[in-house]
């Protein structure tokens, strides 16, 4: 059990600056997910914690030890790789026992720990098999088992579910979460899948181009994204963005663009004041758009034309056009609409986001 601290962490390859000034305090027993598009530096950060990449500058502390110069074997960590990295010439039992054997544990203790881990993961019958005789999901379990037998201070996961098919991925996701609740070990998990990030993480770290964009609890990231990148990255389908001009009329601020004119909600009006007459980006999530009813005021409603209807069973996604602006709305599955239908939508005034066009930061 340990906390992990990263202080001004930097990684430079010859020409690429892969990780830039990462500061992160991962608390004891916390499950932290690093998420971002490929090449954002999340895997490099994890590999620096593991000791597989040298640290260009900065400091990593695990527990109360600075580990910068410790080899991976002395860091008391366990890692699960995307391709599982099971030793192909060993049985499942030997794979799981390898780390303990290297640390010279007595045989009965090894047998006990491997037995426990196998029971937790439901792989007791597989212990005598070789990795090539296992299915993808079973290999994944063995890889996780190999990590947990060691009772390490920190678990590191490098996209462990990416090689599984969609159904198995959802199942393993739940199992990993359950496992973490049971073992209560600090875990750092890298993924490019924002659904995995949201569902697994106590806290989520969004990265892009080597920079941390935002650190927060999943719903905090979703509800109050710090910038346009986080807003667009978290959530599926992604947030709708429309460039608007902040206009002053009738004593109130309006977000105005051809095809769309809505009042700036009172909550945002104060902060948008300095942007009067300027272009900003309005962001609204698909589920915060709804079909306007008579009760909705005209201030938050606008006309659209349906371009594509995507029925998903539990909901319908509508690709719409408000003038030249493209957006997606998530509506009730009972709604009957078809291509080219005209539709009046209304947006949820408290859930409108505004972003500065230059800095892309939330206003």
């Amino acid at each position: 059990m340990a906390q992990v601290m990263m202080k001004d962490l930097n990684k430079k390859y010859d020409e690429v600056h892969a990780v830039k000034d990462v500061n992160l305090h991962i608390r004891d027993k916390e499950f932290v997910v690093l998420v971002g598009p490929s090449g954002c530096g999340k895997s490099t950060t994890l590999r620096m914690v593991a000791g597989l990449e040298e640290i260009t500058a900065g400091e990593i502390t695990i527990g109360d030890r600075v580990v910068n110069d410790l080899p991976p074997k002395d860091r008391d960590i366990a890692m699960v790789f995307q391709n599982y990295a099971l030793y192909p010439h060993m049985t499942v039992y030997d794979n799981m026992a390898f780390g303990l054997k290297m640390r010279k544990f007595p045989k009965p203790e090894i047998a006990k720990r491997v037995g426990e881990a196998a029971e937790i993961l439901g792989i007791q019958e597989l212990l005598k098999r070789k990795p090539r005789q296992l299915s993808g999901g079973q290999r994944q379990r063995v890889a996780v088992g190999r990590a947990i037998v060691r009772h390490p201070q920190v678990f590191l996961f490098d996209e462990p579910l990416s090689n599984l098919d969609a159904k198995l991925r959802v199942q393993m996701r739940v199992e990993l979460k359950r496992l973490h609740e049971r073992l209560e070990t600090t875990a750092i998990y890298v993924t490019h899948d924002q659904v995995e990030a949201m569902t697994l993480g106590d806290r989520v770290v969004v990265m892009k181009d080597g920079w941390i964009q935002q650190v927060g609890e999943p719903l905090e990231l979703y509800g109050r994204p710090a910038n346009r990148f986080v807003a667009g990255f978290i959530g599926s389908p992604a947030m709708n963005f429309v460039e608007v001009t902040v206009a002053d009329a009738n004593g109130a601020l309006w977000a105005d663009t051809p095809g769309l004119r809505v009042k700036v909600p009172p909550a945002s009006a104060g902060r948008l004041g300095p942007y009067k007459g300027q272009r900003v980006t309005l962001g609204i999530r698909p589920e915060d758009l709804r079909i306007a009813t008579g009760a909705d005021g005209a201030d938050y409603s606008f006309d659209t034309v349906v371009e594509v209807v995507e029925p998903l069973g539990s909901e319908i996604l509508l690709d719409l056009k408000a003038g030249p602006n493209v957006m997606v709305a998530r509506v009730d599955p009972t709604v009957r609409v078809k291509h080219q239908d005209k539709m009046r939508l209304s947006l949820h005034p408290e859930r409108v986001h505004f972003f500065d066009n230059k800095t892309e930061l939330a206003i």
């Binding site: 860091r75 960590i77 890692m79 391709n83 990295a85 030793y87 290297m102 990795p131 190999r146 060691r150």
Partner: protein
């Protein structure tokens, strides 16, 4: 860096023995190793090492580097990860390199022809040709028998290790 090393090793393999035997003959004479097995033991590596290195480089590239990394996290040193994880996985590749090295040495002609002179020391390919053909007289029976006997060891080696040999060439480590 590794790529350059690989290329330079491969380039040494491209120097033909028919050219290389001239300086080598000089060295063998200086050390007075002519007509001893050492003449071949010391000269064959000039083509065997580049060839095996080049063959094994390709094979080692197919072994995922995560295996080594995982072993290092599991508690092994770099060297330990190599001996306990990478070498056992590389056995098919090492065996095929060995088989190839054996075949190449067994069939080698020019160095054996130049560095060995007494009939009882000659290797089979050289001996068959130089001892069983006298001028324009061919001892056909002995020639054929010699050729057959000479091919038996190679055939045996291949048939015993054919499975390893195939995976060594196709080089697949799955799972």
């Amino acid at each position: 860096m590794a790529g350059m090393l690989g290329t330079s090793i491969f380039v040494t393999y491209l120097v033909p023995p028919t050219l290389l035997f001239i300086p080598l003959a000089d060295i063998i004479r200086d050390f007075q190793l002519g007509n001893t097995p050492w003449a071949l033991i010391l000269t064959y590596p000039t083509f065997l090492i580049p060839f095996s290195t080049w063959l094994l480089m390709g094979y080692f590239k197919t072994i995922p580097k995560e295996l080594e990394e995982c072993a290092r996290i599991d508690g092994a040193t770099r060297f330990g990860a190599m001996t306990r994880i990478i070498f056992p996985i590389a056995v098919p590749g090492i065996l095929s390199a060995g088989i190839f090295a054996f075949t190449l040495s067994w069939n080698e002609f020019i160095y054996a022809l130049i560095f060995l002179s007494s009939p009882e020391r000659k290797t089979v390919p050289v001996g068959v040709v130089s001892e069983l053909i006298r001028g324009d007289i061919y001892f056909w029976g002995q020639l054929m028998a010699g050729a057959l006997l000479g091919s038996i060891p190679v055939a045996l080696v291949y048939s015993f290790f054919v499975e390893y040999y195939v995976t060594g060439l196709t080089g697949s480590v799955k799972g």
